[in-house]
């Protein structure tokens, strides 16, 4: 019997049917608790089987390719403990962003998660370290991560920080997990800080949003030359900043091309980055932030590499967010790679958690 077959039998109670789009040949296990997930990971470690944590699958296209033997699904990690008076919520990793935000919205609060999440789960958003457009006002998703429970690659259930909004006790492991792409283990539960939804939200369309005088807008965006500013606050403040506006947030249509890049540069270089995007490519630029999501219909590797060279020369990066291009998905790895490697090796000593997904082949 192959080791995968042995493992399948050993974990039978947790194995579920593969879902559409799951990597071929992998078994899917769906634990309901961190302890069950720990058992899966210990078993996988014994048999040296590669494991990939899986929420909605939205961000699996980031980083180096991984061929998992086991998909560790978060679909059964679904608790929500919302404390509106404390402005916090503790959420199972498998809860979808759409469900969570709709629930919080009913009480006038938000976790400021990505605005067009599709089927993305909270665990996926935290693991991928992605943020919504409103980060211009509220900071990236990572800033709101107060605590987390995760299972290391060798099956230890570890809790980091807690459920209070101010906490400096011990190393901030939860924020270290944010953006770790499942390489340190499976995130099972996250506590987030919440914000009240502003009294009023409005959208105005202008050319070159960064040249306007807005008081701390929620977002300044440009999609293929069309500028959008989303404002939030007291109605009087919105009227003063944008006499002409429409109510609500009108987010730009997402980039839908098969190949999707993220250019990340210091905020003051955002306009220059837009100027370097070849004709025919589409983009959504976050002015004031420095993130430009770029889509292209037909692959042009030379143009991507040229754009990456420039982005890196500003101190930024160009990351392949989706689609197949025959180049490194991350570009030049960071100087601290050797420290990152030691952390990864400590939390995943058998090297089974999505090895190779992080920059530098880590």
């Amino acid at each position: 019997m192959t080791s995968l077959a042995v493992v399948r039998r050993h974990l039978a109670a947790l194995v579920v049917e593969p879902f559409a789009g799951a990597p071929v040949g992998a078994i899917v296990v769906a634990p309901s608790t961190a302890e069950e997930a720990a058992r899966v990971l210990r078993t996988a470690g014994e048999h040296h089987l590669t494991v990939v944590a899986w929420g909605g699958g939205t961000h699996q296209s980031y980083g180096g390719a991984v061929e998992p033997a086991i998909i560790l699904s978060t679909r059964n990690l679904l608790g929500i403990d919302w404390q509106p008076d404390d402005l916090t919520v503790t959420v199972g990793a498998g809860v979808t962003v759409a469900d969570l935000e709709s629930r919080l919205g009913s009480g006038g609060q938000t976790a400021v998660l990505p605005e067009q999440p599709g089927v993305a789960t909270l665990g996926g958003v935290i693991a991928a370290g992605v943020s919504g457009y409103r980060r211009l006002r509220y900071g990236p998703t990572r800033d709101r991560v107060l605590g987390a429970t995760f299972v290391t690659g060798d099956g230890r259930v570890v809790k980091g920080r807690g459920k209070v909004v101010k906490n400096v006790a011990g190393y901030d492991v939860p924020r270290l997990l944010t953006g770790s792409l499942g390489r340190l283990g499976l995130i099972t539960e996250i506590t987030l800080k919440l914000w009240p939804v502003p009294a009023s939200i409005a959208t105005t369309h202008v050319d070159r949003p960064e040249e306007g005088h807005w008081y701390r807008p929620l977002a300044m965006l440009e999609r293929n030359g069309h500028g959008t500013v989303v404002l939030g606050g007291h109605p009087e403040a919105i009227r003063a900043d944008a006499p002409t506006h429409s109510p609500g947030a009108a987010w730009p249509e997402p980039i839908a091309d098969a190949i999707r890049l993220e250019v990340r540069v210091p905020a003051r270089h955002t306009r220059a980055a837009i100027g370097r995007i070849p004709d025919g490519w589409s983009y959504v630029a976050q002015l004031g932030v420095g993130t430009i999501t770029v889509g292209m219909g037909t692959p042009d590797v030379d143009a991507v590499l040229e754009l990456r060279r420039w982005a890196e020369s500003t101190g930024g990066s160009l990351v392949i967010a989706a689609g197949n291009l025959p180049i490194d998905p991350w570009g030049t790895p960071p100087l601290s790679l050797y420290i990152q490697r030691r952390i990864v090796e400590a939390f995943d000593p058998h090297g089974i958690m999505a090895a190779g997904r992080l920059p530098g082949g880590l």
């Binding site: 008076d85 980060r135 209070v164 400096v168 901030d172 008081y215 500003t314």
Partner: protein
């Protein structure tokens, strides 16, 4: 050559001290413990810090970074022989990018000096610990410092974009970037708040945020502290996030009034100090909403300031709290803990009960908006047995807070003071994971050893 001679070869005799007086001065920070560093050095550049660290490593001495010494958790206390690396001479604001809203600064820059320098661009550095006229950016990074205005803007973690770090083996690495979402693991997350245990921070890229167009300050007096807490709840329930929401209890109000004679309504059970800030077109509407809530919840005395001068007067009481306590007794002990905001009132009454049981004089100021409380105990350490009572009461207070779902420190850090209490909030497995983070940066355990994490039992 000896350690001192080797260090003198790097920095010259004038920036290396091993005399008893210097060792005494640098033997203590603002916490209650004392240590005895072997030698104190004052480097002025990153290269010098790296060379000092390499010399210390060669002699097998740990290094302890120190800023202005305002830390309250004994995080810069030398445990055994050590090289203390004092960073106050690295105090240059290297570069301000007003358009991008960032600045590269050295760790010895004093917190208020930075915002004073960036005021001409209408920008400031948000974390504003009470020590901000003295404490340094490096120290703010080390502790993950907060302050009253972190209610709306968050603590230091959200305001640091990149860090230049000299590791304990003398390597210089830059962590993070001015560009968003630097690729790879976000090591900034663990370096911020690491209290010098992962290396020495020699340069910091800080985020600067726009100054508010308008600020209003309200000081409201309530008969009962519960009423003040109810007002805080209602403000948050109505979706208002004031820039600051500070509570001063009855005992503290009396202490401040005796110190300042500012005409505070000392009959109050609780005083609530609130900054409402934001857009010039709406700040007065938000101010009215806040005042209405305060009245509805029973405020009997409401003072409002719309100009800087009166605002400063209203804030003077809050900012004088430490001074007020210092004049009551030769020593004071300031606790820092954090609970879910909704549990504040019950926790405060339990904390008073503990102080009463130990016969200690205590008063409170706290960041009511985010559940961060600061019981202060005024005492005389020369009275036999008093310090032991203070320490015991302090530990009991922490236990009460942890039981209420809180944590050991909201913004001051763990240091040496609370190190051995970490098992109250973390399991052995949790702590081992944190030890692994420390070891990844500092395999030889030479960067400020013996802080944050309890020593492993042999």
């Amino acid at each position: 050559m000896s350690l001192v001679a080797d260090l003198e070869a790097v920095l010259g005799k004038e920036r290396v001290f091993s005399d008893p007086l210097r060792r005494h001065i640098y033997g203590k920070d603002s916490g209650i413990k004392r240590g005895d560093p072997t030698v104190v050095v004052l480097p002025e550049t990153t290269a010098e810090v790296a060379e000092v660290v390499r010399v210390a490593a060669r002699h097998d001495f740990p290094v302890i970074p120190r800023g202005a010494g305002t830390g309250l958790a004994s995080g810069t206390i030398s445990i055994g022989p050590s090289v203390m690396v004092v960073l106050t001479r690295m105090n240059r604001i290297v570069d301000i990018d007003a358009e991008g809203g960032t600045a590269w600064v050295e760790p010895g820059v004093v917190n208020v000096d930075l915002s004073a320098r960036t005021a001409e661009f209408g920008l400031h550095f948000a974390p504003d610990p009470s020590s901000q006229t003295v404490s340094t950016i490096g120290g703010n990074v080390a502790t993950g410092a907060g302050g009253p205005h972190c209610l709306a803007e968050g603590t230091t973690i959200g305001h640091i974009l990149a860090i230049e770090l000299v590791t304990a083996d003398g390597e210089v690495v830059v962590i993070g970037s001015e560009a968003p979402d630097p690729i790879g693991l976000d090591l900034r997350a663990v370096v911020i708040g690491s209290e010098g245990t992962l290396g020495i921070v020699t340069r910091v890229l800080v985020k600067l945020i726009p100054n508010p167009q308008a600020v209003r300050t309200v000081l409201a007096a309530f008969e009962q502290i519960d009423d003040a807490a109810a007002a805080v709840s209602e403000i948050i329930a109505q979706g208002i996030v004031p820039a600051a929401l500070e509570m001063i209890d009855h005992e503290m109000a009396i202490a401040i009034e005796n110190f300042l004679h500012a005409g505070l309504p000392i009959q109050a059970g609780g005083l609530l100090l609130t900054d409402v800030s934001g857009h010039g077109a709406s700040v007065d509407a938000e101010l009215e909403a806040v005042e209405r809530i305060m009245r509805d919840k029973g405020a009997f005395d409401i003072r409002t300031a719309t100009d800087e001068k009166v605002r400063a007067e209203l804030w003077r009481g809050r900012k004088s709290a430490f001074g007020a306590v210092s004049q009551m007794a030769p020593d004071y002990y300031l606790q820092d803990t954090s609970v879910p905001r909704t549990r504040l009132v019950e926790v405060i009454s339990e904390v008073y009960e503990i102080a009463r049981r130990h016969g200690l004089r205590m008063m409170n100021v706290f960041h009511a908006g985010d559940g961060n409380l600061h019981p202060m105990i005024a005492f005389d350490a020369s009275e036999p047995g008093t310090l032991e009572h203070v320490e015991q009461a302090s530990e009991e207070m922490l236990r009460v807070c942890v039981e209420a779902g809180g944590t050991l420190s909201g913004e001051h850090g763990i240091g040496l003071e609370k190190r051995d209490l970490m098992p109250l909030i973390y399991t052995d497995v949790d702590l081992d994971a944190q030890r692994q983070v420390k070891a990844a940066f500092d395999p030889g355990n030479r960067a400020n050893p013996g802080k944050i994490l309890p020593l492993e039992q042999p």
